[in-house]
Subunit: 275 residues, 2 copies
């Protein structure tokens, strides 16, 4: 008997990492919900800002992995209000009504982003010494970060007050790259993936150090999600989505202890790509 | 030179306590913003869910005490979205644009309300032993509590990222009563003020114990606000709005240390009202 899993925002960087790593796993039967469809996948086309449109996709699911939302720190208040705040309420309401047991939420390091901003660039050094754990007070660096903080709090309200969902996992995912760039700072062919950084510039060096600290490989992200889907103990918890990077300042011991997260990768493994 | 202070949601329980205690203080020049006016006061009539309507009231202010919003735990998601989430964004935007230095926010114990729910009624005993402090992870008990948690986080985002406001004080106000009922459980003439409780019933006894734990007298609330208006050190902080009640489980040492809060009252002082 496989576990039915609804994946919202299925075709972004994080969603495709989950599809790549887990879609062929016999334990899971995935449904992909996205705002727009893709030729290669059956897609339930719906927008999370509209409860009626997404509600039917939750019927019969054992778990939802909720990734849909405005995904960047440049989002305005209005963008995060509709897609992230109302979107989360809609996803939780749908999960409650459809009696979905497990809710895995794609949160972000930007919920606590100011610990980085206050300490950059020194924080990117492996021996900086700061650790931010699951109980660190929220310090959002953006409307986006604040909206995801609300989403976590709302998820906790639901699991502590309603029958469903029964389990809520807030994954503060740091930096998962596109498949072509599953490397802390791009690769030799494609370079750095967002094109904003001049190679060898001072900013480029800083960005490399940051990516080595923040990176979560696609297989480590998928393993963390799989650990949540297999867990049956947690009511509410927060885990940081990073690989076992020497330079990370986010705690992963809590994820190791509670759900058995066992990351395989470390940003230090990568050298400079050939010029 | 007096301090210009804008009071939003001026005519509720908390706002009127501030007016009663501080309006005649020569140090302050108040402007009252409210959705509806009252004969006895000059009122700037505006709704916090509409930025354009409130924006002019912020010009020339040194401080804002932001109390306007949906005030009860029975609020729906939609009610808290417009009045509390959008309302807070609007108030912060107006304060930023008008260069208002100090932002005192009327938050609530319901941001962390589940610590009570999980431990009631034993938590109402003076020797229960739980202390919830300013760093306790958010555990809202309602959409209302979740919206106020967001408001605190958004305030922190603003003071840490924009020039104004410069100082943000989140007061998690517990139970301030109407003037006629400034007593933990009503008074002899009026009885318990919300009328839902049968005197001498088991629920009544529990409610009395709860009010003795949660009460903040109107003068202690106003003193806490005055301590914030006079402070010039805090960038962001969270304080619990309770009197020095034997039964409180919310920490006040932090408020004593940081802003010099010195509560004068204790819920235990009150005996049963005469029958």
């Amino acid at each position: 008997m496989s576990t039915n899993v609804l994946l919202t925002g299925a075709f972004g960087r994080v969603g495709t990492a989950i599809i790549d790593q887990l879609a062929d796993d016999d334990r899971y039967e995935f449904t992909y919900l996205n705002r727009s469809d893709r030729d290669e996948y059956d897609t339930f086309v719906a927008d999370v800002s509209d409860l009626e449109s997404i509600r039917p996709a939750f019927d019969g699911q054992d778990a939802v992995i909720h990734l849909a939302g405005y995904p960047e720190t440049d989002g305005t208040f209005e963008q995060t209000l509709d897609n992230n705040i109302r979107g989360m309420y809609n996803a939780l309401e749908a999960a409650k009504e459809a009696e979905v047991e497990t809710f895995v939420f794609g949160s972000t390091n930007h919920v606590v982003g100011m610990y980085e901003v206050d300490n950059a660039p020194e924080i990117y050094s492996p021996d900086f010494g700061l650790t931010v754990d699951e109980d660190a007070p929220h310090r959002p660096d953006s409307y986006y970060g604040a909206s995801k903080a609300y989403d976590e709090d709302l998820g906790r309200y639901y699991v502590e007050n309603f029958e469903y969902p029964k389990r809520f996992y807030a994954l503060r995912i740091c930096s998962v790259r596109h498949e072509a760039y599953d490397h802390p700072y791009g690769d030799a062919e494609h370079g750095v993936d967002d094109g904003r950084w001049e190679r060898r510039s001072e900013e480029y060096e800083e960005m490399v150090a940051r990516m080595k600290a923040m990176w979560q490989s696609r297989r480590d992200l998928a393993q963390m999600v799989e650990r949540c889907l297999e867990d049956d103990e947690v009511e509410f918890d927060v885990f940081y989505g990073v690989s076992d990077n020497d330079r990370r300042w986010f705690d992963i011991d809590h994820a190791r202890d509670v759900i058995g997260y066992d990351p395989q990768d470390n940003g230090e493994e990568w050298d400079e790509p050939p010029a």
